[in-house]
Amino acid sequence: MAGMSPSEKRLQKELMSLMKEPPPGVSVDAEIAEQNLLLWIIRMEGVSGTLYEGEQFELQFKFSNKYPFDSPEVTFVGNNIPVHPHVYSNGHICLSILTDDWSPALSVQSVCLSIVSMLSSCKEKKRPPDNAFYVKTCNKNPKKTKWWYHDDSV
């Protein structure tokens, strides 16, 4: 891995690990990631026995060259954005590890697992109460929103 920056080296390791041992229901589009290590698409299946059983979702991960010191920018993309109290219809996710609680010891895999668990624990499919307003006015980058995290139970 000579000639790679520290963030590229780390991402390369993460990509290999995610391709070899992906968490259940999660798969990375290796072709896209290998073309550009700073942009990944990850597919995620709704876990059976939860409200999202049978659904397919796509997550986009964008990394800066300061990764893993900077958190990745993670959004749902594609034509099925999960209906969930912490997911806006534009794909932005309100999840503390994506901003305030991000740590360099976390990884793409741990973010995926948190999102799977956030979806799986959902009891009622609905959008955040301020969805219409937020989607109309927010910055394209969810990391530019100052989020208030208030409820870990859904």
Binding site: E14, S103, P104, A105, L106, P128, Y134, N139, K146, W148
Partner: protein, 274 residues
């Protein structure tokens, strides 16, 4: 320097902030925070040069309480090394000062190197992912090796100082000490859980307050970091409280401290005893 506090109204919002002015405010606040961070990083090195302790008096030229305290401090300490106030100051100061101190005694340094070399496996066993720990561990050992290989002590200290001012090394050192501290807290979670307020578990506390960069350190971080490295620290508290003397705390209690830190509300610098 301006400190920005978000208005109370933001707390009542549902998930993201709600009205237009507030949203524009978000970006303004973040822009201002970045500006403050930029100013700090341009003016204050990660780990500064040694300065005479009496220079501290200049900071408090109109303040008798502090002037008196600095004079008292100067009876025990000859110099101070400032660190950048970026929320990582305890971890950076402690890491630097402890390794600097170890360089004075080859046997202690070698013992610490051996201890550190074994630490990655302990963290992986505790459930940390191998590849997230690895980079920080490798860099930490690399720094130890680079300074340990320099035979002449002053030369080794100069190299250590320059590596700690290179963000590419310095932040890796900070993260690895944060991980070791988190590992220590989790390994002895029954003990440490008594010190955590509210219903937060030790694991959650580690994920939210120890492992992320820029999160400030409290007593519990310091005690666990000392236990992880197998040493003790004396924290000298200096605030505007009454009395002429500064207050000293040895952590853990009763230890022979290897590192001395000056604490002024919100920030740690390194002290050098006479």
């Amino acid at each position: 320097m301006v400190i920005v506090i978000m208005g109370d109204e933001a707390k009542n919002s549902s998930t993201a902030t709600e009205d237009v002015s507030q949203l524009n405010q978000d970006e303004l606040i973040m822009a201002q925070q970045r500006q403050i961070e930029k100013e700090i990083s341009e003016t204050i090195p990660l780990v500064g040069d040694l300065e005479n302790i009496l220079l501290l008096e200049h900071e408090y030229s109109n303040d008798d309480v502090y002037q008196e305290k600095v004079k008292n401090l100067a009876k025990k300490y000859k110099s101070i090394r400032r660190t950048r106030p970026d929320g990582n100051c305890f971890f950076r100061a402690f890491s630097f000062a402890y390794i600097e101190r170890l360089l004075d005694k080859k046997e202690d340094f070698d013992a610490f190197y051996k201890k550190t070399a074994k630490s990655k496996d302990d963290l992986v066993e505790l459930g940390f992912q191998q590849f997230t720990v690895e980079d920080f561990y490798d860099t930490y050992l690399d720094v130890l090796k680079r300074v340990g290989d320099i035979a002449e002590v002053e030369g080794a200290k100069t190299e250590l100082h320059s590596l700690f001012n290179d963000q590419g090394y310095s932040d890796y050192m900070v993260v690895y000490l944060r991980l070791l501290t988190s590992g220590q807290l989790q390994k002895e979670k029954d003990f440490y859980s008594c010190f955590i307020e509210g219903h937060t578990t030790v694991e959650d506390f580690c994920h939210q307050e120890v492992e992320p960069m820029y999160k400030e350190s409290d007593h519990i971080h310091i005690i666990a970091a000392c236990a992880a490295l197998g040493t003790g620290v004396r924290v000298v508290y200096m605030d505007r409280g009454t009395g002429k003397a500064v207050t000293e705390h040895d952590l853990p209690e009763g230890c022979v401290p290897s590192v001395h830190l000056l604490y002024r509300p919100g920030h740690y610098d390194i002290l050098y005893p006479i």
